[in-house]
Amino acid sequence: MRRGPALQSELLRSIKNNSEIKLKARGAWTADNARELDEIAQDITGMRSAEIDATGITALDTFGARTLDRLVCSSIKPRNVALLGLPQRYVDLFNLVSQAAADDPHEPTESGRRLSAGISLLKQKIARMGIGFMDFLAMLGEIGNAAFRVSLNPQSFRLTSAVNQLDRVGWQAIPIILLITFLIGCIIAQQGFFHFRKFGADEYVVDMVGILILREIGVLIVAIMVAGRSGSAYTAELGSMKMREEIDALRTMGLDPVEILVLPRVVALIIALPMLDFLGSMAALYGSGLTAWLYGHMSPEIFIARLKDAISITHFKVGIIKAPFMALAIGAVACAEGFAVKGSAESLGRQTTSSVVKSIFFVIVLDGLFAIFFASIGM
């Protein structure tokens, strides 16, 4: 019998009687003393034969009953550990609990299983990523389908809803977008001046700032902001509707949730993002101009003159053309993730996170693809 240091505890005393071990249990074998009970059960294993005198137990709950059961069942030969004198009022509980253990034995996990569990977890994650991508494509398809149906019957388009979403996604986002793009413009310009100064290439900062902002930064920063701000809102809204079975209710009324909920949101995004992109780019250029004046000692007249030379309408077009596609990606991902929410709050959180991460990922991938595209057509 393995004996641990904590055997002589308040709850369990051992009395050696010839060659037989007698254990005396006393006190409250309840949840309050759970830690001690745990130690007792862990320390005493493999008894050959023993008697447990339970007459001293003053209180017993499931924790105590389980511990007693583990002691009884821990003997090397079954039934060699006897439980005596358990007060009558606890006998029912003890029987119930030992019956439960007999029906459904608890197997503690072995460390050998953790490796295979880890691998199967990895497999599941990869499968989920694949399914997630399929969901996204399916949502794109449904949006296209709904758009087609609505184009045949323009009256059925939820204009009020779309305008409401446009207000939330576009108009209300303007202050934060302007602020962030302004700051980004300042930062880029400042870094440009700081480093280009070494080569005496101050004036080229303007070129860099103009082209970078109009072609890339304006759209990318705005798209990421919108994904975080509105994409997560869409996922959370649709997800909690899904949790409350509101989506099912719509379907049973013969209505298409994609047409009613998703289409207005996506349309609002597609309209809003180019506008926000434009405003953001202007704010960034303004920020760079301000920085150029205050930090780079370049007067506004020179800044604007150089800017006019450096940028052309092509750069502007390149940036703006990307915007609706990014908007579609953000909208489709956000709504697909929203519909994928299961019943729990944890699931809602997980899908919202996944929605923002995925849409930013798609936005950047799209940006890369467009870069290749525009480079190949020489724009």
């Binding site: 909690s240 509707m241 409350r244 079975e245 209710a249 049973t252 009324m253």
Partner: protein, 262 residues
């Protein structure tokens, strides 16, 4: 008897499953016009799955479902819309649209399918709310401000918004105290008689079964193991059905009495 022999819903050899697990294994069921059918089964036996498959929220693997004489596999988009208009669904937790008031919730199906003036919609919606026991003050509340019983009533009013022929109820009395549950039963029976509804009710509630169901069907192990009036069910040879209707200690199902509720 006036009851036509053509069932309003016919289900034949329905097989529904997810991945490799078969939940419904060749289920056959009929729902006749004008009756209240109660579907019982253990938790996880597939009652909700059956309900959701019939109303079109889940895909079936095999089998036939006919609603009002139309095979759901062969319906065109227009026919489907028409059938859906004639069905109303009460979800277990109400599923009211959380951003709309109770009145707007009830008017939602009306707005979709009918072109009538706001005035008329308000009029009819308030009448429906009154029929289910809610007043004009409740009509202006949002779903988050309602008690459990009120939510169910509002959801019932919405299910009845377009005066459907068939109403599906998913555990309508779950979560209600015995008095509210009894009242709800009476409400369903009254409306069923006044509006000439056919009701398909998934339920656990023995008292509802005793008080208002004309026929009962029991679902166990993915199959319908018994169906018929309450007496037939009590006399059934199936062990699960016997146990369900006679209780753990041989307690009988309460006798038919609308004022009694467990």
């Amino acid at each position: 008897m006036e009851q036509s022999t053509n069932p309003v819903i016919r289900v034949r050899d329905l097989v529904v499953g997810f991945d490799d697990v078969i939940v419904l294994d060749h289920v056959s069921l009929d729902l006749f016009r004008g009756e209240i059918l109660g579907l019982v089964g253990g938790s996880g036996s597939g009652k909700s799955v059956l309900l959701r498959t019939i109303i079109g929220l889940l895909q079936k693997k095999a089998g036939l479902i006919e609603i009002l004489g139309n095979d759901i596999d062969r319906m065109s988009y227009e026919e489907k819309r028409r059938i859906e208009r004639r069905c109303g669904v009460l979800f277990q937790h109400g599923a009211l649209f959380s951003s709309l008031t109770v009145l707007e919730n009830v008017q939602f199906p009306m707005r979709e399918y009918l072109s009538i003036s706001q005035d008329f919609m308000d009029d009819v919606a308030l009448a429906k709310l009154d029929m289910v026991g809610l007043n004009a003050g409740d009509a202006a509340k949002y779903p988050s401000e309602l008690s459990g019983g009120m939510t169910k009533r509002a959801a019932l009013a919405r299910a009845l918004a377009l005066d459907p022929d068939i109403v599906f109820l998913d555990e309508p009395t779950s979560g209600l105290d015995p008095i509210s549950a009894s009242d709800f039963d009476v409400l369903i029976r009254t409306l069923q008689q006044t509006l000439g509804l056919t009701v398909f009710m998934v339920t656990h509630d023995l008292t509802s079964l005793a008080n208002i169901c004309d026929r009962i069907a029991a679902l166990a192990n993915g199959r319908i193991v018994a169906s018929g009036a309450l007496e037939t069910m009590k006399a059934s040879a199936d062990p699960w059905v016997q146990r369900y209707f006679s209780g753990r200690n041989g307690r009988r199902v309460p006798s038919i009495d609308a004022s009694q509720h467990e």
